[in-house]
């Protein structure tokens, strides 16, 4: 039994977003313990570019959801579980928007404009204010660990549906249709 798949652009954007988020998160973890060095500056720059790309991809994903309706939840899910799944997805979208924006605001508050891909200068979201920058850093980190927990739940739920409930859920996000 397989439920309908998401539209192909939605599927591709989902996995692109996932890769970018894992990369940005991993970079931040790696650089947080590093002493200041040219490499650290480069990693901070890549982290910002990845984050801004996540923001763009998330915006595209929201547009894609407006254009292509999401397939219905698997029929074996109870209405309560479906509601929880919807809330979880809503939280994922909110965090995928809030996290890059908090990072962008943090950079603005520190007085360091973001120059996307070293080419495009983004406007500052707020004025320079070092104390606010430090507070936004705390917010940015907290939001990230919360997102990490939600993503862990998202992945575990998807695996549970697919391998325990055997409802073929993962096929919904596969770029290839199942073979049967």
């Amino acid at each position: 039994m397989h439920s309908e798949r998401y539209a192909l652009p939605t599927i591709l954007l989902h996995w692109l977003g996932a890769i970018l988020i894992v990369a940005a998160f991993g970079l931040a973890l790696a650089l947080s313990g590093m002493h200041l060095s040219p490499l650290k500056f480069k990693m901070i720059a890549w982290h910002k570019w990845l984050g801004i790309t996540v923001l763009g991809v998330t915006a595209l994903r929201l547009l894609a959801r407006l254009v292509w309706k999401a397939p219905a939840m698997p029929a074996d899910m109870s209405p309560a579980m479906q509601r929880i799944a919807h809330l979880g997805h809503l939280a994922l979208y909110l965090f995928m928007l809030a996290i890059p924006l908090s990072g962008w605001a943090m950079s603005s508050a520190y007085g360091i404009p973001i120059v996307y891909l070293a080419k495009f200068t983004l406007p500052d979201l707020i004025g320079a204010n070092e104390a606010l920058g430090a507070q936004l850093k705390t917010v940015h980190v907290l939001l990230n660990w919360t997102l990490a927990a939600i993503v862990a739940g998202h992945v575990l739920a998807a695996l549970k549906h697919h391998f325990v409930d055997r409802n073929g859920l993962l096929w919904r996000m596969s770029p290839h249709a199942p073979k049967n």
Partner: protein, 179 residues
């Protein structure tokens, strides 16, 4: 007694009047590019004298000493880094010095100075245009002096890589003095 007074008067009236910088009204900042993102900083502590009669700029002089340890940057981490040997080495070389020894008019309120900048013990000739205007009792001088940080060994070792921190640093000066 009279002689001493006369001597004091002579000493207190030099050829042109040197005025101490009004540090509260003055600002010495800079912009550098990190991964092509412009980052601003400044030096909080400096002092000096300016001798500049706008009607007779040729006789003008400036001498400013900057405390390099007073640097302000976007993050504390970056400030601490710049105190190190690779950057300003501010424990061993606590000051930088700027002198302008030749000033000429470019017309209007625009002028050009030539002088020397000593950073990290390295002295180089510098020259840049600036504007000067009276603002009440103060004369205010504004200008930008682009320098090569590597010419002064600011950022050695790994930091000499200009793809991360660009070589050009634009020093922005806003100097107010009574005169």
């Amino acid at each position: 007694m009279k002689k001493r007074l006369a001597l004091a008067l002579i000493l207190s009236v030099p050829l042109a009047q040197a005025a101490p910088i009004d540090t509260a009204q003055s600002h010495i900042g800079f912009t550098m590019k990190q991964e092509n993102a412009p980052v601003e900083g400044s030096f909080k502590t400096f002092s000096g004298n300016v001798t500049l009669d706008l009607a007779k700029p040729a006789a003008g002089r400036a001498d400013i000493v900057i405390n390099t340890g007073s640097i302000a940057l976007p993050t504390r981490e970056a400030e601490n880094e710049t105190h190190k040997k690779e950057w300003f080495n501010s424990a061993q070389i606590p000051t930088a010095r700027f002198t302008a020894t030749s000033i000429k008019s470019l017309g209007g309120n625009r002028y050009q100075f030539a002088g020397k900048l000593t950073l990290k013990g390295i002295t180089r000739d510098v020259s840049a245009p600036f504007t000067a205007q009276k603002q009440g009792a103060l004369t205010v001088v504004d200008g930008v002096l682009p320098i090569s940080r590597l010419a002064y060994k600011i950022g050695e070792g790994d930091w000499s890589d200009t793809s991360t921190v660009a070589d050009e640093v634009r020093i922005k000066f806003h100097i107010a003095y009574h005169g």
